[in-house]
């Protein structure tokens, strides 16, 4: 019994370490790709690490003096790491439990809520506008994520993410799961904060929005949280909705999941490169349509397709 706990704990720690290391690396690769499409050379692949280390080494300039405000960046990073432990990786969620799908839906919103609170607390008009945009984005994207996960849960007959992944891997593609997967793919674009949906940050309009007052270690942690978040959501997508081929060998499945995640992120980056930024109400309209489309997936799931 104790050995099992230890093993779970060890896997969770490894998972967190993997996410922390891989997410800046993936971001670095994406920047390189984006630069290539821009006819630029671009920064070295390890630049996100260098930036993060540099920012972490700077003084913590708190513009608002409150204990709660001081810890929001760390909590934001922690929340996405917790989310990461509930999402299957290589077919197995490191800290999976019965009903963890509900947990995923809730924890997924925590990071955004922390960012919104930070924005409103920081007292800058740009952050306030960014915060309200972030809130609107959250409200329009979260339903899409929820509906797609419900489709998975209905099809697999379980509220466990690992269960859904295993069911999908063994049953092969179905109409409802594919549709739900596509809807979730569209949501990843916003969850990763990429164009045309980087509306809350919108450097050219509101100078980074919620992050305008963040610098040094606080900025590093928020950005790190953003990178982990884009990787975790991509993993959620490929593990639950596109888990094939699954060999049953953990390491092979892990590598294949990461490769598929990279592929999805490349698509996300290409969409980012070929689009200008939408306005927040245009983005909300878009996600409303995506949410309705994902209801179609739900309908298919109800009739068993």
């Amino acid at each position: 019994m104790n050995a099992a706990y230890l093993r779970t704990a060890a896997i969770a720690v490894l998972d967190v370490a993997l996410l922390l290391v891989l997410s800046p690396l993936f971001e670095g690769v994406l920047r390189k790709l984006k630069a290539a499409l821009h006819s630029r050379i671009g920064p070295p692949v390890v630049q996100p690490f260098v930036d993060t280390l540099k920012l972490l080494g700077k003084d913590d300039l708190l513009t608002v003096h409150s204990r709660a405000y001081a810890v929001t960046p760390a909590l934001a990073l922690a929340s996405v790491l917790v989310l990461g432990t509930m999402v299957p990786i290589g077919g197995v969620p490191p800290l999976g439990f019965a009903g963890d799908v509900v947990g995923i839906i809730y924890v997924a919103g925590v990071g955004a809520v922390l960012l919104i609170l930070t924005a409103f607390a920081s007292g800058s008009p740009y952050a306030a506008v960014g915060g309200s945009r972030e809130m609107m984005a959250l409200l329009s994207v979260e339903p899409v994520v929820a509906v797609t996960l419900v489709v998975g849960a209905m099809k697999a007959g379980t509220l466990s993410a690992g269960g859904i992944s295993a069911w999908n891997a063994s049953h092969g593609p179905t109409i409802s799961m594919t549709l739900a997967g596509l809807a979730l793919f569209l949501a990843v674009q916003a969850q990763a904060g990429k164009l045309p949906f980087d509306i809350p940050e919108a450097d050219q309009e509101i100078m980074g929005g919620p992050l305008v007052e963040q610098s040094g270690p606080r900025l590093a942690l928020f950005r790190w949280a953003m990178w982990v978040r884009q990787l975790v959501f991509t993993l959620l997508l490929v593990e639950l909705f596109f888990p094939w081929p699954r060999s049953g060998v953990f390491l092979l499945d892990l590598v294949s999941a990461l490769a598929k995640a990279m592929l999805v992120l490349v698509l996300v980056a290409v969409v980012d490169v070929v689009n200008p930024r939408l306005k927040v109400e245009q983005a909300m309209g878009y996600y409303l349509r995506v949410a309705f489309s994902s209801l179609a997936a739900l309908a298919f799931a109800v009739v068993g397709m």
Partner: protein, 568 residues
């Protein structure tokens, strides 16, 4: 034909104003100078509006050393007849007041505020008589363009001064854009009054960059130095300003520019339009978060910069113009290279155009955004692509042909879209047309000299010149003086009228639309405010000795050398 129009206008003014017309004469073939009594200024303006002329700018002149008072000269353009009309209203020195014409022509607002600041004549009945150019803590009663104020006058410093700010309407809050803002390349301050994401109003304060270029021109420099200063008015369309200044002097002094020089100017002007429009397209993309457009257009633009470097020696700020012609010829050996670059630029610009033409996300961000109605564009006297994109059919190259545009007819690119997208399309059309114009100019390049010699330029003459800059029509007014320099040199950059359209364009829009709405004007604050950098160097030379400057440069090198990873 111009002469007929001038005579008819003079007759009309006389019949309407009677004894109010103090004199009317043709200064240039294309300039009617009408002196009217200041009490008739509104009536004269009404006549100008009735005959369909377009307000350009107002020039304030301190004529006290000449034995007069102050001259307030409203400039108009009768585009169809290619005629400039100057309505000159002498104002007595003891009673410096004149009726404001802003109630008749909203576009005159800034120009009137400017002469209020700079010359000290009060525009009576102006709806918003506050400072435009002078800093808020500038002492009362010091008007820099008066002849008795030295060019290097420095007001005493003021402590603890806070300017009074316009209060936002009830229920709205203030979102500052500027003085420094990511997508404003230069300082300007728009205080947006917002309700949620909707802009309900704004307050503008600019002219943080005013460096007194006009003052330097009419008190320190000489005829042939000013083109180099004029070129530094703008970092992008500098050649426009040096050409415009030279043409104004050439008109005033009756200097015939050799045809070859006129063609070379045309080539350089159009090359400048090509790289400026590509630059703008990139910035517009960047404002919308579409950095791919920025990176690609600036990559396409770069060979044009190398080309101008090959022709003039400089990527920008060519230093080619002089009164009477140009300093650099285009050799036959350069022609194939220029044509090669044009071919590449044309091909790649077309590819960009194709890529963005049907981009639905781009349309969502630009169609219907930053609206400027045809009516308001005319009222506010907008110029250039923003005016043409609002279906106001004006183009200085056609309205007042200069350089070689009498031979090489430009296409008037316009649209009735009245929004940001229309401004994109107009500029893309102009880009193509500019490439054609350069090709035609090079194919028909006449032989001969590139510069005319001239003798002493007599005083008391006036020249008005318009040049179609990439951003719109630039106007230079030169009144000659006897000291080998202008008595008064007035520059009106295209952004000066266009920026006045901003409040109407962003009212009711969302915050997200504000940067691209302002950006769609291709605003150039340094042009508008006539900032320039050479005067700093000039000033430095007066303060520092050469040795001191060298020591300064060496210490800067030393500092760089001590920094981490610095060059040896």
């Amino acid at each position: 034909m111009i002469a007929t129009a001038a005579a008819e206008t003079a007759t009309l003014l006389r019949s309407r104003l009677g004894a109010g017309v103090l004199g009317a004469r043709e200064m240039d073939p294309d300039l009617l100078w009408a002196s009217v009594d200041r009490s008739c200024v509104r009536e004269a303006t009404t006549v100008m509006k009735e005959i369909g002329s377009r307000y350009l700018v107002t020039v304030g002149i301190d004529e006290r050393p000449l034995g007069g008072g102050y001259g307030i000269v409203h400039l108009f353009s009768l585009d169809a007849e290619h005629l400039f009309i100057a309505v000159d209203c002498p104002v007595s020195a003891g009673d410096p007041r004149i009726d404001s014409i802003t109630p008749l022509i909203p576009g005159a607002s800034w120009a009137e505020r400017e002469f209020r600041d700079m010359i000290g004549v009060e525009p009576e009945g102006h709806p918003d008589p506050k400072r435009l150019v002078l800093p808020d803590d500038w002492p009362e009663g010091v008007h820099p363009l008066r002849r008795d104020v030295a060019y290097n006058y420095r007001p005493p410093s003021v402590e603890g001064f806070a300017p009074e700010l316009v209060k936002p309407p009830r229920g709205s809050s203030v979102l500052p854009v500027g003085p420094f803002f990511p997508v404003l390349e230069e300082p300007a301050r728009f205080r947006l009054f917002v309700e949620g994401e909707t802009v309900v109003g704004c307050d503008y304060r600019g002219f943080y960059n005013h460096r007194g270029i006009e003052k330097l021109g009419d008190s320190v420099l000489t005829w042939d130095r000013i083109p180099f200063l004029a070129e530094r008015i703008c970092g992008i369309c500098g050649f426009i300003h040096s050409t415009c200044y030279c043409q104004a002097v050439e008109k005033a002094a009756d200097i015939e520019v050799p045809r070859r020089a006129a063609y070379i100017r045309t080539v350089m002007l159009e090359l400048e339009r090509i790289h400026s429009h590509l630059l703008w397209l990139g910035i517009a993309g960047h404002i919308l978060g579409f950095d791919t457009v920025l990176m690609q257009t600036w990559r396409i633009r770069e060979p044009v910069m190398w080309l101008t470097e090959e022709i003039s020696g400089n990527r920008k700020t060519y230093g080619m113009n002089l009164v009477g012609g140009v300093r650099r010829d285009i050799t036959d050996a350069q022609l194939p290279r220029i044509l090669d670059v044009l071919k590449t630029v044309e091909k790649e610009a077309l590819a960009v155009r194709k890529a963005i033409a049907d981009d639905s996300t781009l349309h969502a961000r630009t169609v219907g955004v930053g609206p400027l109605s045809t009516w308001w564009a005319k009222e506010i006297c907008a110029v250039g692509p923003p005016a043409r994109a609002s279906n106001v059919l004006i183009d200085a190259r056609i309205d007042h042909p200069y350089a070689a545009y009498d031979d090489l007819k430009p296409r008037l690119c316009s649209s009735d879209g009245c929004d940001v997208w229309a401004r994109v399309i107009v500029r893309l059309d102009e880009l193509e047309d500019s490439i054609r114009l350069v090709r035609e100019a090079l194919a028909n390049l006449p032989a001969g000299a590139v510069r005319a010699e001239f003798d002493e330029i007599p005083g008391g003459r006036v020249g008005v010149s318009a040049v179609e800059a990439p951003r719109g029509e630039a106007i230079h007014f030169v009144m000659t003086g006897g000291e080998n320099r202008p008595y008064r040199w007035r520059v009106r950059a295209p952004t000066f009228p266009n920026l006045q359209a901003v409040p109407a364009m962003i009212r009711g829009q969302s915050i997200a639309d504000v940067p691209i709405s302002i950006g769609s004007l291709d605003p150039c604050f340094s042009c508008t405010e006539r900032m320039e950098t050479v005067s700093v160097a000039d000033g430095s030379r007066r303060i520092y000795t050469l040795q001191e400057l060298q020591a300064l440069a060496q210490s800067a090198r030393a500092r760089r050398g001590n920094g981490d990873g610095g060059a040896p």
